[in-house]
Symmetry: C2
Subunit: 592 residues, 2 copies
């Protein structure tokens, strides 16, 4: 069975050596010194490794069951969830006014990677609650906040997001669920929602559904969508639970993975609900949840890659098979370990070089989210909004690919469920799909984010790269190995942006045909920047003689691998993009 190894050392390097969070001016970051942060991460890592990870395979093989409207979660999930609640982990970065710990998101993100890596299905119950919490926190009235948030912060009550209906996923304008006003400020909701993660389960006293629905008479399409709170049990004035509301789980889906999380068909039959935010402005409120959820899904993708990778490394060190082509390395054994073989190393280095930069990318993004929320930094908000589809789409595409590579190291054993590597692949697969399929992320990036505010945010990204290269131009340790490849990648990204600007206005298809390639081109450039920044931090540590020299040298080695063997993909992506719309659109729909 796979084990989970918390990547503590790497997280600490990124947070303190690279991002230097303890020196940042963002309110709350002064608390994040090395000792405090390490203590939190170490404790979270222990829970992930010792409590959550051992239940991962259990969740996969047992799954959830629906019996008479009651959804039973896998054995052990309740106890583990209780432990997360008791430790205050579910409200780590929530508002202290409602019982949260008030920690910055960057810390919650690091903790979240470990919790998702250890047990993605289990971690989705508090994870979705957090998304629902954020939407109510940002858009709900004081009354609603007082009523619902304290119990959601502690996860005594869990939350859900109800968007999808059988006939509409991405295209929410088509949704049919109706919310009839009752004259007393409440609404009655009727309709069916599908793919509702944690929609029903036996681990919480109440479930707070956030539901998109249409108020009759409102505008057509997405402009007529409103957001509602629909609790499973109505909540009395005194906070005690009242009558069972008219929302039930009609079915559980059999899925490729995340079996430990209940994916529900939810039927609303005149269920009582309360408007969150303004009528017909539900999409805006929903996007509060969605943007947070998208970064969270990027984290999930990365987390599965990390979990799978560490197991693949162990296997490659232990499994004896064949001899090194350059001469026997394990003369006392019947064969050498797999890790002597260049192609096994190539696969492991691909994973390692992706994972470490992906982690830096996400944690950097988290610092920008904090800067936005804690000091209203509009530039940070603009940049992280631009990068959110990249974090979601690129890190989950590559995260999945990385789990497949890890599974491949095991040969036939990787295909056997007992070994547990298949689960990483099957669980990671959903991250490319939910919270906006990755094609939708690419569309959001190219069709919306890229040109928003007159292209200001992408220009800010280019400036960032440029300044970094300029500021370190004399650094011989970085020059050839890091700055030049980064410059080349950034040039490819600029050329692609330019191509879209020149052709996209006349022919939107010319831009959209390259949207997924652009997302990957952007992702690689971001990871290239992360590696350059990590290399700089590592070199500084080596020069100053601080830190673990071996660890810092390995950072440089891994970074060089990324720059030499992975980053050059930007050129290919650019070539695809500049081939334009014709190859993609030339075939008639009936000719496929």
């Amino acid at each position: 069975m796979p084990i989970y190894t918390p990547p503590l050392k790497d997280m600490e390097f990124i947070l303190h050596d690279m991002l230097k969070i303890h020196e940042a001016s963002t309110p709350g970051y002064d608390e994040l010194d090395v000792d405090f942060t390490s203590a939190i991460l170490e404790e979270a890592g222990k829970i992930a490794r010792d409590v959550m990870a051992p239940l991962n395979a259990v969740g996969d093989s047992e799954g959830c069951t629906l019996d008479n409207g009651i959804v039973r979660t896998p054995k052990g999930f309740q106890e583990a969830f209780d432990l997360l609640r008791a430790g205050g982990w579910t409200g780590l970065d929530c508002d202290p006014e409602y019982g949260g710990q008030g920690m910055p998101y960057v810390l919650a993100a690091a903790v979240g990677e470990m919790q998702a890596g250890a047990n993605m299905s289990l971690n989705m119950y508090p994870g979705l609650t957090h998304g629902a919490y954020s939407a109510i926190h940002a858009h709900g009235t004081d009354e609603l906040k007082q009523k619902f948030l304290p119990k959601m912060v502690t996860c005594e009550w869990t939350g859900t997001m109800n968007l999808t209906e059988p006939h509409c996923g991405t295209d929410l304008g088509l949704l049919r669920t109706k919310a009839e006003p009752q004259g007393d400020g409440s609404y009655k909701l009727t309709g069916q929602k599908i793919f509702i993660s944690a929609g029903e389960h036996d681990m919480a006293d109440n479930i707070i559904h956030l539901v998109l629905a249409k108020i009759p008479g409102g505008p057509e399409g997405v402009k007529g969508i409103s957001l509602f709170i629909v609790p499973k049990f109505l909540v009395n004035e005194d906070g005690s639970l009242g009558a069972r509301n008219g929302v039930v789980c009609g079915n559980l889906e059999e899925k490729m993975g995340i079996h430990g999380n209940s994916t529900c068909v939810m039927n609303f039959d005149g269920a009582e609900g309360y408007l969150v935010g303004e009528a017909h402005k539900g999409l805006r409120a929903m996007f509060t949840m969605m943007n947070e959820a998208r970064v969270g899904v990027g984290l999930q993708g990365l987390s599965q890659a990390q979990a799978a990778y560490t197991n693949a490394v162990e296997y490659a060190r232990d499994r004896l098979q064949g001899r090194a082509v350059t001469g026997t390395q394990n003369p006392d054994g019947p064969a050498d370990p797999l890790i002597v073989h260049p192609d096994i190393r190539r696969a492991l280095m691909d994973q390692k070089a992706f994972i470490e930069a992906g982690r830096a990318f996400l944690l950097w993004g988290a610092t920008m989210i904090d800067a936005h929320h804690r000091s209203d930094d509009k530039a940070a908000n603009g940049l992280v909004s631009l990068l959110t589809p990249v974090m979601k789409g690129f890190l989950t595409d590559k995260g999945f690919e990385s789990t497949v590579q890890a599974q491949q190291i095991f040969g036939g054993h990787g295909y056997i469920e007992e070994q547990g590597m298949s689960q990483f692949v099957r669980d990671a697969r959903i991250t490319m799909i939910y919270e906006g399929a990755n094609g939708v992320q690419a569309l959001d990036l190219v069709g919306r984010k890229l040109a928003s505010d007159g292209g200001k945010h992408v220009m800010a990204f280019f400036d960032l790269v440029k300044s970094f290269i300029k500021d370190n131009a004399e650094n011989e340790a970085l020059k050839a190995d890091f700055l030049e490849p980064l410059k080349a990648a950034s040039k490819d990204l600029q050329a692609a942006s330019m191509f879209f600007m020149q052709h996209g206005m006349k022919d939107p298809n010319a831009a959209l045909a390259g949207s997924t390639d652009f997302l990957h081109l952007f992702g690689h450039t971001c990871l290239g920047l992360m590696w350059a920044q990590m290399a700089k931090a590592a070199q500084e540590g080596l020069d100053a003689g601080t830190g673990d020299a071996k660890f810092l040298q390995n950072k440089l080695v891994t970074g060089r691998y990324y720059m030499q063997r992975l980053l050059p993909e930007t050129g290919l992506r650019l070539a695809r993009i500049t081939s334009g719309a014709t190859p993609v659109m030339a075939l008639a729909a009936e000719d496929f």
Copy 2:
């Protein structure tokens, strides 16, 4: 539930317009005229679509069960298998001396793609039998052939390949199964084999295991391996079944996919066996099976891509979601079909452009196998041996990727098992692993095949490309769109080969670190050549006014997509290769 659509038109185009098999001088090809071939393919397609495909999901959800040593296959499998037997499909290309139809392999390969695409798990039962048949046919004594082959040709008896043991997969030198000579020419085999596909099941009267084992006192390592026939039931002189032999299924593996095929732990406990070929020369005989099996696995990978693709196309045409960015295309509906969106088309074109060229590549390979077997064409044998790891490794890597893309088109619905797209992904995943994991294929290609016979075969490949380009240099329809990109790809492949020659002798790791990249670089170049040849054939048809003009034009469109958007990957692969061994090997094993 997915449907299976036989790609008849495309197969016929490849066989007759591109490969012109009916004009080839290979003995037996004169029978393969358009009418005869079409009749066979049409009938095979019907069985695949109407009989095998409807059982695909059944096999996945029911799986196989082991009960008191008896393995039960999914409902309906027996009847479908009987139908394949009754139609003579199991012996299509087998030797008429043993009851086969004596058809060329190229026809069997086309039929095989459809059978595997419709139901990979079911098709593995006759598929493995064919591999065992080939090994006995090539290396067995007349007595063994007379005794076993007729019943294997009809699949009354099925066959297996027993190589892997718990501690050794690729590294067969480590195997422990022993074969003790009994003095009467027979042996007693004792040991355990794992991952034995179709090792035990309830669909045949007898199961003929081909088993690798060591005769005590023989040479160490792979030079001491012999191949044996071990029947489940001993066979009497008169051909009737005798005593139960000492080989039993100890367990069934729970796998990620191919649930309809039984993957068995086989325990040999003094089981009676008969030597096939010479003692200690078992590996050579095994490779007869392996090479055939590798091409077959390439076919499987492609077949899953094809099956998944046609379902994705249907879904993309039917599912209404969003509006085309260039203006509404389905004004009477609530939304436009998915297929209007550029990124959906990009994903479909990726699949289509890969699949059609992959099919051409395999069928071209099959003609070379026929040329070798039927007219002892050594050049054809050399070239197809070189290309076998490419067919296996590249077509299964890309085939799997293609099923993931097809699944992605379905959004959340693709993740639900009921929809059936997950099964294509899970089933395709094994093709990258078994019959030599793809990393082993890359090693075989770079470490063995590339330099074999002084590099003669790779030179023959380059000559082929060169001649094609030269012969068609004046063809304006091909020049810019096909010949130039092909030339560039071939140049990249030559540069990579040159890099290996220059560095590989001094430092084998410099070559092996790029082995997987080389396999993909070679694969893309082959598919580029296939597209150039298909484009030529399509253009000839258009010029002559023969054939379906729309179909031929679509070929050109799809080919241009490949050349513009997929083939440029060769440059990236070359860059990775020429970065050499350092980035890959620099980290110490303990530092991962």
